[in-house]
């Protein structure tokens, strides 16, 4: 029976970084990264936007083949269509996730991890100090023995369930998302666009993320509880019909984004969960790529250290949870409170806010100045700001 020290389930950003880091922290360990799909990075279930500073902790985007577009501007559309430009530089990047995920997985292999694509984990059970893990793939059904399993298996995480962790989420904190790749449309390819409004995307927002000149990821997320009965896909079809009636939809994806706080327990005996599986997405922005990589790094390192110390108990592995909460998890509690406060504000508030911001000259539109002006002109925001400090 093949014995594995660290088995990482899911070769997205969390899993690949976890596998690489586990080998870096434990060069003598056998680390295996399994991916259910036949190709790492496909299908893409992502708007592919990532912030500049966070990305650079892991890879240099300059001239990289896994970058689709550099972004230097953010443009908000208020519910009534008022356009608000926020002047910033080096905002971020739109990735080519298929290539980016493959790049990260190759990084794990370069560190000495094994990557098995087309291999699905179908169940796992505890046997003493080991996890007995059933897999199915190109090599046929096989049972592996692993000291530590890292579940980086996305919103649908089964590893979390099998390990006895509660990864359920209330419906109000689930964004139902749909996205098309749309070609032949007119927009500023250096900008990302975000539209808010109850008619367009109740409980979420719609986005245009450029992948090149005239081609973009056009999508939206909604909270179904606030919707009028239409599915996310129907909302998106209606929005695109109104905004880009002549665009060619050449690709399509859907998925869930959990805009909650980190699950209470991310560790069990011999098991950790990271990334979307552990609800580590920023609950305000819905961004999760960099968070997943940061969590993967902590998870991989903790797993390797715990194995070296011959103690893979939940108590030992919980150093990972503590480190994550200190790094980002505690901030997410604040962001989540702000999200809840913003939910009480309606479209007319955001229309008014857009006009307030537009009264500030563009070069002076720093986020700090926008916030200060907004607080003075829109007292409804005061409870929102107050929640940040609670």
């Amino acid at each position: 029976m093949p014995d594995i020290d660290v088995l990482v389930v899911g070769a997205g950003p969390a899993g690949s970084v976890a596998a690489a880091e586990a080998r870096r922290a434990g060069p003598d360990l056998r680390v295996v990264l399994v991916e259910r799909d036949r190709a790492v990075g496909a299908p893409v279930r992502c708007a592919e936007g990532v912030g500049d500073a966070g990305l650079r902790e892991f890879a240099d985007p300059t001239g990289a083949p896994w970058v689709a577009r550099k972004i230097t501007k953010v443009i908000f559309w208020a519910p009534d269509g008022t356009e608000v430009k926020v002047a910033e530089r080096d905002v971020g990047w739109i990735l080519d996730r298929t290539r980016f995920d493959a790049f990260l997985a190759a990084g794990a292999v370069a560190e000495g991890a094994e990557a098995w694509v087309g291999t699905e984990v179908t169940g796992m059970r505890r046997d003493g100090e080991w996890w007995m893990v059933d897999t199915r793939g190109a090599r046929g059904p096989e049972t592996l023995r692993a000291r530590v399993v890292i579940g980086a298996d996305g919103v649908e995480t089964m590893v979390g369930r099998w390990a006895g962790l509660d990864t359920r989420v209330p419906a109000r904190d689930m964004e139902s998302c749909a996205q098309y790749v749309v070609q032949g449309i007119d927009f500023d390819p250096d900008a990302i666009y975000l539209q808010f409004g109850d008619q367009v995307a109740p409980g979420g927002y719609a986005w245009v993320f450029p992948k090149g000149v005239g081609v973009a990821n056009v999508g939206l997320g909604i909270v179904a509880l606030k919707a009028d009965g239409r599915s996310a896909r129907r909302y998106l079809d209606d929005w695109i019909a109104a905004r880009y009636p002549h665009g060619a939809k050449t690709g399509y994806t859907v998925g869930g984004v959990i805009v909650h706080t980190t699950v209470r327990e991310t560790c069990a005996d011999g098991a950790l969960i990271a990334g979307d599986a552990a609800h580590m997405v920023n609950p305000l922005s819905g961004g999760g790529i960099v968070n997943a990589m940061k969590a993967g790094r902590l998870a991989g390192r903790t797993a390797a250290e715990a194995i070296r110390e011959k103690n893979t108990s939940a108590a030992r592995l919980s150093a990972y949870h503590t480190a994550w909460m200190k790094l980002l998890g505690d901030d997410h509690l604040k962001y989540y409170r702000i999200k809840q406060a913003l939910e009480d504000l309606d479209d007319s508030f955001f229309n008014g806010l857009a006009r307030t911001v537009n009264a500030i000259p563009t070069p002076k539109r720093t986020l700090g100045r926008i916030f200060a002006h907004a607080l003075v002109r829109h007292p409804q925001l005061i409870p929102v700001a107050a929640r940040f400090f609670l």
Partner: protein
Amino acid sequence: MRSVRPAEIAVVDLALCDRCGLCLPLCPPEAIHLALADLVVDDDSCTGCRKCVAPCPVGALSMVPNRAAA
């Protein structure tokens, strides 16, 4: 064993389902899972709460009469 069975339970239309997995964490009794990449609703665990139906981005989940309810 459950003594009272719900009148309706959720069912997935695999022709519409995109296997995105969004509905899994929404299910309170964890009655939905992915098996060999296909979504499966466990009839015996589903409580008929409907929490998975509206959030499905493609409308692949719906409620059907539960044959086990009598």
